[in-house]
Symmetry: C2
Subunit: 145 residues, 2 copies
């Protein structure tokens, strides 16, 4: 509703990869799609994007799969995933669909919209995969239901 389906799957997938990487487990597309309840082939495409944009790391061949090392879990923020998949609409777009958001010729909703967008942006930039994975680890949160 705020992110595309692709982006939702991307975040869920990345969090799952982070979670399993905490245990040193490398995971396959099939396992990921199963665990986050997403369409396999579509999820594979998204994982490719995340891999290309260095959000997660991929390894080909037997024993291959997706992983993320511990330090990256702290540096990879949600904003990177959203940016990799949905682009920068969330950062530069006008809430009412004008060509671009421009404070000098604002749309009627600009001021109110920018406040919310700034909060969202800050949230995305300050939330790491590690933070999200730890909630899952202790069983407080869920990636499917």
């Amino acid at each position: 509703m705020m992110f595309s389906k692709a982006c939702e799957y991307g975040i869920r997938a990345a969090v799952y990869v982070a979670l399993q990487s905490l245990d040193g487990r490398r995971v396959s597309v099939n396992e990921i799609a199963e665990e986050i309840d997403s369409p396999i082939a579509f999820t594979a495409k998204i994982l490719q994007q995340l891999s290309r944009s260095k959000v997660i790391h991929s390894v080909k061949g037997p024993t291959g799969g997706f992983e993320l090392d511990r330090t990256e879990m702290d540096t990879v923020k949600l904003s990177m995933i959203v940016h990799a998949i949905d682009g920068d609409d969330i950062y530069v777009g006008c809430g009412l669909g004008l060509k671009e958001c421009n404070a000098n010729q604002p749309c009627p909703l600009h001021d109110k919209f920018v406040d919310i967008r700034t909060d969202l942006k800050n949230m995305l930039e300050n939330t790491s995969l590690y933070e999200l994975a730890t909630g899952l680890e202790v069983g407080l949160t869920y990636l499917k239901r």
Copy 2:
């Protein structure tokens, strides 16, 4: 980026109707589409929806068009437009795409997401068409660019 295109057009259209109604002018689909820079026929559909959901009032026949009386400009909030066009995803949907947002089995982003969604919801529920139209009236804001 947060609302559908239909919803963006809907809000812009409704604000324009409100603005013109302040001068007692009833406006046609063609004028609206011209002034908010939107596709005519598509805008007509959206105006139908808004009319059906009582956000604006429509009058058929010669001298007909869309209008909104002064008291309605205060009571009609953005939330009504968004609800009429995009439904209640914004209210009940999970940010990571789980079936529904459920605080008892939250997704990893739930707490952070709910904060932002609540702000957005409040903003939509507290912003009237009158408020948006007045900014336009004095030339501070724009509906196209």
